[in-house]
Amino acid sequence: MTAITTPTPTPANSVLATRPKFEIVDSDVHHGFRQNDDLYPYLSSVYRERLAEYGGVSAVIGTGHGLYNGGAFGRRVDLLDPKDPGDRGTAAMNRDTLRHNLLDTSGVDLAILTGAQLYGASTMTDQTYANALCRAFNDYTLEHWVGADSRFRAAINVCSQDPQGAAAEIDRIGDNPAVVGIVMPCGSIRPYGHRSYHAIYEACARHDLAVCLHFGGEGSGINPAPTAAGYPSYYIEARQARPSYYQVHLSSFVFEGVFEKFPTLRVVMLESGFGWVAPYVWRMDTDWKGLRHQTPWVKRLPSEYVWEHVRFCCQPVDEPATGDVRGDTRRLIDWMHGERTLLFSSDYPHWDWEDPQQTLTSLPTALRRRIMGGNARETYRIG
């Protein structure tokens, strides 16, 4: 046995004092600017404005790929609150303002509330936190919106990256008569027909709710790049990729057999536009004739499932270069059986909205009545 010796404590400063002195270079020191204004003198007016509205590189992290928008903050400039210079366009989304602008003034009789600010929850890594946020927004919606005006219905926000959590949220409030559907963003880990999502559709079938998809979240958070060809550079360019998001999900629903498995399910493509629909569905039919043996559970022509189960929204309306809305646009609508499948949507309060008083007004009255209201009532099971 040897004796245990206790080291003698030495003051730290005396240790430093004993070290040799030499120059220190720190290779990583994070500096910054206090606010965006500090950069304004160095930017052109174009980018000063964009930085003010959408942020700079920090927004790149926040939104995935730093895309900006049109209008003011993506919303109608005419709806900015003149009394609030700090309004970022959310004043128009205030309940009473929205009620006045859309229901009392623009003639909308029934509004399906779809939210927007929570779509990003489906891109978050922390699913528990994401679910809590959706739950909070849904409860807020039920209490402060549909509880305040019988002209509101809600499509509740759920976290698509957590199908079990989404199903639990649907079961929690899905029987509320004001809840007519759920909303999931098009940005996803994999297309929505995949079997990993079926718990969501089982829950929707239990409560007879429509499944609504709205673009959003592509290239953000946990999601892959917004297109398989990479990141579009510009907002207008990214907008052109939107139909592809709906297309991928649409064929996934069909070929994964979702409509065979859930024969009462309805899927609504929000802000889908409709000019692309018929040719895309024709393509599915064409391919199915030669490839149906690979997915033999798809027993009918793909178009039959689509026209029965899927609905599309008119906004944004693709305006024909011919100017012939009465003829060319009408043909697009007829090809997609728009008398059953096309729903009016305004996209209020965004800059590219559709004024219900001026949307597809050249259509025959019976057809326009279906599109403006009847189809939605049937789809959302509103008695």
């Binding site: 057999g257 065979e260 199915w288 030669g290 149906r292 043996h293 033999p296 559970w297 027993k299 022509l301």
Partner: protein
């Protein structure tokens, strides 16, 4: 009926008045079960199939894009009881066109995806040419009757 369908195979005279002619295809042992033979008879390319000991003949032209249908893969019918269930029935009774994969029932000439409206035209030995089902505008191809006599496969074609 549309103007896009194939012209009738028997171009001269009413089909019902012309008796089909038996053409020798090959000795029986040259066409065992699961095999096919493509022959040219009366100017038409025709595929003769042995499906489990029974003989069938189809016009070697797909009604879709006139591809050589009878050169396609012969397989069963893939069916399903619901999503993700895959089973095969009627092994060897389906030919899939080599170009775009349209499947036809070798025993009837009917297309799988549109059996009531799209099929190959059938010739019966005793009644001559049957009417093609082309009411949706899809063009038709023909099927023919095959018999065996004295160990020889005979193909019956009108005209």
């Amino acid at each position: 009926m549309t103007s896009q369908q194939h012209p009738p195979a028997a171009a001269t005279g009413p089909a019902t008045s012309i008796a089909p002619t038996a053409h020798v295809v090959c000795p029986v042992d040259e066409l065992p079960p699961g095999e096919r033979k493509i022959v040219t008879v009366a100017g038409r390319s025709i595929g003769v199939f042995n499906v489990g000991g029974r003989y069938y003949a189809l016009r070697n032209a797909c009604p879709h894009r006139v591809a050589p249908l009878c050169e396609g893969r012969v397989r069963g019918l893939v069916v399903s009881n619901g999503p993700y269930d895959v089973r095969v029935e009627r092994e060897g009774e389906i030919v899939a066109c080599p170009w775009h994969g349209w499947e036809f029932d070798i025993t009837t000439g009917r297309s799988h995806f549109n059996p009531h409206r799209l099929r190959v035209k059938t010739y019966e030995v005793t009644v001559g040419m049957a009417t093609a089902c082309t009411d949706d505008g899809d063009p038709a191809v023909e099927t023919f009757t095959v018999t065996v006599k004295r160990n020889t496969v005979l193909l019956h074609v009108t005209g």
